[in-house]
Amino acid sequence: MSVHVEVDTTSGVPVYEQVRTQVVAHVAAGRLRPGDRLPTIRALATDLGVAPGTVARAFRELELAGVVVTRRRTGTVVADDATPAHDTARRAAADYVRAARGAGLTPDEALDLVRGALLT
């Protein structure tokens, strides 16, 4: 399965934040593993049609959070200590997404349900 980021330039959420949260989500879900190499800033910016500074800011914040590290030879890679979420919780999340999609919920509606559950 290929790992993607999707940004909405009309969203109120800044593009760099959308990139940052999605990379964090991929790491938490185990789709990005420690040592995985991310695209270069320029390549990702070109693919997304955004300024390189936007992607650079997302990567900088990810680096500050310890999710990725930038090495001179290999570029930006997922940090060794960036481990995915607890296995049971990860499987439950995947099961929930499948059920929500099966029920025809939109991503926002599915997230609202999770937020509601977290309030209990």
């Binding site: 790992v3 993607h4 980021v5 940004v7 990005l32 991310l38 695209p39 270069t40 390549a43 693919d47």
Partner: protein, 311 residues
């Protein structure tokens, strides 16, 4: 001269490409991907085809026009020897400009893969190996001919017997070899730069990562096909000139009191024949590889499902 050599070459390439296109299974390696918009994919294929067409047209035109522009003189042979590489650089330049003209994402919602793309991901290894093989063989051959050439570097001389010598040229000594190696090095750098652009161009909007990768591989295949044809053609040309010179210089005929004697250096003659046979083999191989590569590029990027008819 250039036209005479190019016409059968072009015919052979087109013939091989046509045959291989007919024989290969349609849609081989293609994966149906629900994320791809057939219209967007068809437009991307058209763009890639136009870029490739212009690039190959530039190669053909440069091969046809450059020899006519070379003035007669002592440097004519050197310029002609560098002509394939020069034409190749022109073709790669056109391909590079084409890679810069892919449409950039403009829709509000945009996707990008988080997998790093490198030249190794887009360049087919067998084709790259063929290019590197030709590129390694060419300087080795030119060093050998440079060492065996006369002091001036334009002829080769043998003494088949104790009383006579025989010289023949043109022979690819240092005056030919150094510019050819330099021109080939420039071509290889241009190839690498163009492949880099293929890997780094923006992802095609509304096309899945797998289909975008297929378009990139097809572009890289066409670039490598062009480069290996140029280097292989240059190698074949050098082998042809070397073999012909060795054959002519291997024999000498002389007369004493109307008694004619022909002496032959068997080693030189064997090398001459080997050079001519190798030239034909390299030319045939590079043409077949080009035809197969172009056909595979076309098949590789063929849509798994028919594209919709444009309104």
């Amino acid at each position: 001269m250039g036209l005479v050599l190019l016409v059968p070459l072009a015919v052979l390439v087109v013939l091989v490409a046509t045959v291989v296109t007919a024989l290969l299974p349609r849609g081989a390696g293609a994966t149906a991907d629900v994320e791809t918009s057939p219209g967007a994919y068809a437009r991307a294929r058209r763009h890639a085809a136009v870029v490739a067409g212009l690039s190959w047209a530039a190669l053909l035109l440069a091969c046809l026009l450059l020899p006519e522009a070379v003035p007669f003189g002592i440097s004519q042979g050197v310029v002609l020897a560098c002509m394939p590489a020069t034409a190749g650089v022109v073709a790669l330049l056109v391909a590079a400009v084409g890679e810069r003209t892919w449409p950039r994402p403009a829709a509000p919602v945009r996707r990008a893969s988080l997998v790093r793309r490198t030249v190794r991901d887009v360049a087919p290894r067998p084709l790259a190996a063929v290019l590197l093989g030709w590129s390694a063989a060419l300087p080795v051959l030119l060093v050998a001919t440079g060492l065996s050439a006369d002091a001036a570097g334009r002829t080769v001389t043998f003494a088949p017997d104790a009383v006579s010598t025989s010289s023949a040229g043109p022979y690819p000594g240092a005056p030919y070899g150094v510019p050819v190696v330099l021109a080939t090095a420039v071509l290889l750098v241009a190839t690498g730069a163009t492949l880099h652009l293929v890997a780094r161009r923006p992802a095609v909007p509304d096309v899945s990562t797998a289909d975008d990768a297929r378009l990139r591989r097809a572009s890289a295949r066409r670039v490598l096909a062009c480069a290996q044809l140029v280097v292989g053609g240059t190698l074949a040309g050098v082998l042809l000139v070397t073999g012909a010179a060795l054959q002519r210089a291997s024999s000498t005929t002389w007369a004493v009191d109307d008694v004619w004697t022909t002496s032959t250096d068997p080693v030189a003659q064997a090398f001459g024949v080997a050079g001519l046979v190798a030239a034909a083999a390299v030319l045939l191989t590079t043409c077949v590889v080009t035809g197969v590569a172009l056909a595979r590029a076309s098949r590789e990027s063929a849509p798994a499902t028919p594209a919709p008819v444009a309104a």
